[in-house]
């Protein structure tokens, strides 16, 4: 068994940013383990532009954004293994990995950063009726076929779900010569970013059917058509509102699920709200020395935010390895109040003395809303938003000194985040 200071599980945007930051914070004995043949993760297939506006102040494509971080890894000489799949992590931080090159390997790590990302919700989780024919893909799978392998999944396409990958694929399929007949969204609002609705659907006159869902999938060998219908307030299809499309392809863009099987093996406690690890402000999980960041922790809207968060995980892991992280400090819970969902982090250490970032998703679309953060009776932050939507994550930064305030030091103190009407 090899001894190592820091193992980073995943070589996508989260793993790369975490590794670079850990190096910059002084860590030298580390290794990135990546399942695929090259570094870069999902960015490799996101060939559209719009990445890096926050981080680099310019609009890059996914592969270009990834290369900026890969170049850093190469410059620093940080070791990585590709084609290496981690199959087990124990609470003692023993990591088992398999690769064609080296067979089975075991590492004993002092710290681990979980950066495995997320995967798409598959058809099986939707309960959509109809035939199990070929031609039904998740949007990301279709994206991989088109952008990385040069293959076209079909010619006449319907998209279920208005997540960003589905919207991006509506445009890509159109560019590649397919006809996209419509994008069907169950909710009365889109799950994707506004700019993607405009630039991927409106630009090409692709209709967006809000409050609609697919009620039948037809075709024995290959998909031959789908039927959609309007849904009522309880999201149940309304008889008489059916629309039929002849099509050979149905793409699903119905949500992302953090990939936490390894985290669970390691004994990391998960949050039902985010499907990711429960972490404190240092991004440390319930297992000491195991950190989590990026889409395996909670699904982000922008890769820029993944990079920022992961860099913090890298810095904190390096600090932990040097004994600079106060792990004995009391932690106070961060509680999701009304209108708040998928809150991260779930705890803040009472020794925190740097600005703390809290992120969440609003439960519903709200106009002219106020987000308030309180500790005990004391209001820490109040911010007005002209519009809040579940599709856009909200980030609040708490002042550096707030933990030193009396209310935060009190017995049973908690931080409450809520959306006020």
């Amino acid at each position: 068994m090899k001894q190592i200071d820091l193992l980073i599980i995943g070589g996508g945007p989260a793993g790369l940013a975490a590794a670079a930051a850990a190096y910059e914070s002084g860590c030298r004995d580390m290794l990135i383990l990546e399942r695929e043949e090259t570094l870069g993760g999902i960015l490799k297939q996101c060939i559209h532009n719009g990445f890096g506006l926050h981080t680099f102040k310019e609009e890059l494509t996914g592969p270009e954004y990834a290369q900026r971080y890969i170049d850093k890894i190469l410059e620093y000489g940080i070791p990585y293994q590709t084609g290496a799949m981690v199959i087990e992590i124990t609470p003692e931080k023993t990591v088992t990995c398999v690769s064609r090159e080296k067979g089975l390997e075991q590492f004993s790590a002092r710290a681990i950063i979980l950066a495995m990302g997320c995967r798409e919700r598959p058809r099986g989780s939707l309960g959509t009726p109809g035939w199990r024919c070929a031609g039904v893909y998740t949007a990301g799978t279709a994206q991989k076929f088109v952008n990385l392998q040069g293959l076209m999944p079909g010619k006449r396409v319907v998209i279920l779900g208005s997540g960003d990958i589905g919207l991006i694929m509506a445009r890509r399929m159109t560019f590649s010569g397919a006809e996209v007949l419509g994008c069907v969204e169950l909710m009365p609002y889109s799950a994707g970013l506004k700019r993607n609705i405009v630039q991927c659907l409106d630009d090409f006159d692709i209709p967006l059917y809000l409050s609609h869902t697919v009620i039948d999938i037809e075709g024995k060998e290959r998909l031959s058509g789908v039927t959609i219908a309007k849904v009522d307030g309880d999201l149940k299809p309304i008889p008489g509102t059916e629309i039929h499309f002849d099509c050979d392809t149905l793409l699903l863009s119905v949500g992302l699920i953090p990939e936490n099987e390894l985290s669970e093996m390691a004994g990391v406690k998960l949050s039902p709200a985010t499907s990711g690890a429960i972490v404190d402000d240092r991004l440390m999980t319930s297992v000491e020395g195991i950190f989590s960041c990026g889409n395996v922790l909670h699904v982000h809207d922008l890769v820029d935010f993944v990079s920022q968060e992961s860099a913090r995980a890298g810095e904190n892991a390096a600090a932990y390895l040097e004994g600079r992280l106060d792990i004995c400090a009391q932690r106070i819970p961060v509680v999701a109040g009304s209108g708040v969902n998928a809150l991260v982090p779930q705890y803040i250490s009472q020794s925190a003395n740097c600005p703390t970032t809290i992120m969440f998703r609003p439960r519903a679309v709200r106009k002219n809303a106020v987000v308030r953060v309180c500790v005990g009776d004391e209001e820490l932050l109040r911010k007005k938003y002209r519009v809040l939507a579940p599709g856009e994550m909200v980030t609040m930064t708490l002042p550096a000194d707030f933990m030193q305030r009396q209310a935060a030091q009190a017995q049973g103190a908690e931080v409450l985040v809520e959306v006020l009407e």
Partner: protein, 117 residues
């Protein structure tokens, strides 16, 4: 003529309606701020888009991803894609390398967006 637009300046996504007469905007309504006004003006006079696409690589099935270095006029998107269909590049290719100069006479070059060995 009235044109309906969705502003992409912020998450508000204001529905903007603009009245056009003789090719000139005479009225903009529905925007909540100046960002929306500016967006509508640009969008109605000369909308531009970055185009990202794929081109063939000689002797390989996997395509190379490319982009226009600057946004080009929206109406030229499909002309641009048709020109790129004819392109076939020779490996290796580096990020930023020009694969097609002056696409559709726009003065904008199309460049590679990944390392391809």
């Amino acid at each position: 003529m009235t044109r309906e637009l969705t502003c992409i300046g912020c998450p508000m996504g204001c529905r903007i309606s603009a009245e056009i007469q003789d090719g000139k905007i005479i009225k903009i309504e529905g925007n909540s701020c100046n960002v929306g006004k500016k967006y509508a003006e640009e969008e109605l006079s000369c909308p531009k888009r970055m185009v990202t696409a794929l081109v063939q690589v000689q002797g390989a099935r996997e395509p190379l991803c490319v982009k226009t270095r600057e946004p080009i006029e929206k109406r030229l998107i499909f002309d641009c894609l048709r020109e790129l269909e004819k392109v076939s590049v020779v490996r290796p290719v580096h990020i930023g390398q020009i694969v097609l100069k002056n696409v559709c006479g726009t003065g904008v070059d199309v460049v590679a967006t990944r390392e391809y060995d």
